[in-house]
Symmetry: C2
Subunit: 197 residues, 2 copies
């Protein structure tokens, strides 16, 4: 075969990321034993340190993977809207829906920021906020959104609100009702960005 070596390496990396993602997403970063989840991938910590440097490095890789998937999903859903403003709103609500998934919530919104710091400083992530920033900029150009607004800043505030909305829904005893209230409140906040006639 041509490059069995490179393939084995990629496979090892993928297995480690998958095992770590599973562990981080369920028991959490701090409680995830490197010995345990590397073993569950049929490997040892030796492989982990070789490829990712340390536990944080592996978390970064996991986050990069999830972030990529989220960006794809957001784009899929939001591209069906009729107006650009609706497109933007759909993007935000999709973001909330994704944040409802325990794995995403735990890794992207809780352990990630705690271990790696402000997500805005992450090197490879936040493709979603980038997309939201683009839309806000375009909406400003079209005069839909107030001109006196920094798109990237606004995108990040919305991101924070989304995360809280998702947590509120996820921890609710009546997720259906809470979801309605949270999304309504969220859309109401977004209305503040629109230019008034």
């Amino acid at each position: 075969m041509h490059r069995p070596r490179k393939e084995m390496i990629a496979e090892t990396r993928a297995k480690l990321i998958a095992a770590a993602r599973q562990a981080f997403g369920t028991v959490g970063y701090a409680e995830a034993s490197m010995d345990d989840f590397t073993a569950s991938a049929g490997l040892t910590r030796g492989a982990l340190y070789h490829h990712f440097g340390d536990k944080k490095g592996l978390l970064q890789a996991v986050i990069a993977e999830i972030d990529g998937e989220m960006a794809v999903r957001v784009n899929e859903v939001a591209s069906k809207a009729s107006t650009r403003w609706q497109h933007f709103v759909d993007e935000c609500t999709t973001y909330i829906e994704m944040a409802l998934e325990p794995e995403i919530q735990r890794i992207m919104f809780r352990d990630g920021p705690a271990v790696l710091g402000d997500p805005a400083q992450w090197p490879n992530a936040s493709a979603c906020t980038a997309s939201m920033t683009d839309h806000l900029t375009a909406l400003q150009g079209e005069g839909v959104v107030v001109a006196d607004l920094d798109p990237e800043t606004a995108a990040r505030l919305i991101n924070g609100a989304s995360s809280q909305a998702a947590q509120r829904i996820a921890n609710s005893k009546d997720p259906e009702a809470t979801s309605k209230k949270a999304i309504a409140a969220f859309k109401q906040l977004l209305e503040g960005l629109r230019k008034k006639p």
Copy 2:
């Protein structure tokens, strides 16, 4: 003396909380060694386990203390506003300003949620959001804020946005400029809650 025992106990608790607060606020919860910061208070882990059960229990106590201080500060500042809406807005911006302090940011917005979970579920904290919820309810009664809105949900979304705003400012290279942009964007979002004439 009358109650030297009770006083010593209270002092011990206070010293532990102060030492932990210092450690958590600087190096962070995970990196703070219980042996180290109890020693810096002239005590050992024995005292810690006796009073707080475990490391998480101590973090809860630290959070309760900080939360109380934040509530006091918010009330002090916001009570000077002329209208209730302005009062509410001041409350929010004060919240952002407090979230700029590294200790508060680290303990209340990063390590706290990561270790103890959703702040909304904390038993003794979030006096600030409670206050914001009250104001929103009152503003609804006065017809200033749209009726179709759950105050507590809205308060928590705002809370999330505030936290992001603060992080953005704190990590900025030009905090002055970023602060202006972040607070402007934030107020713009709040406008969405007001009833239109």
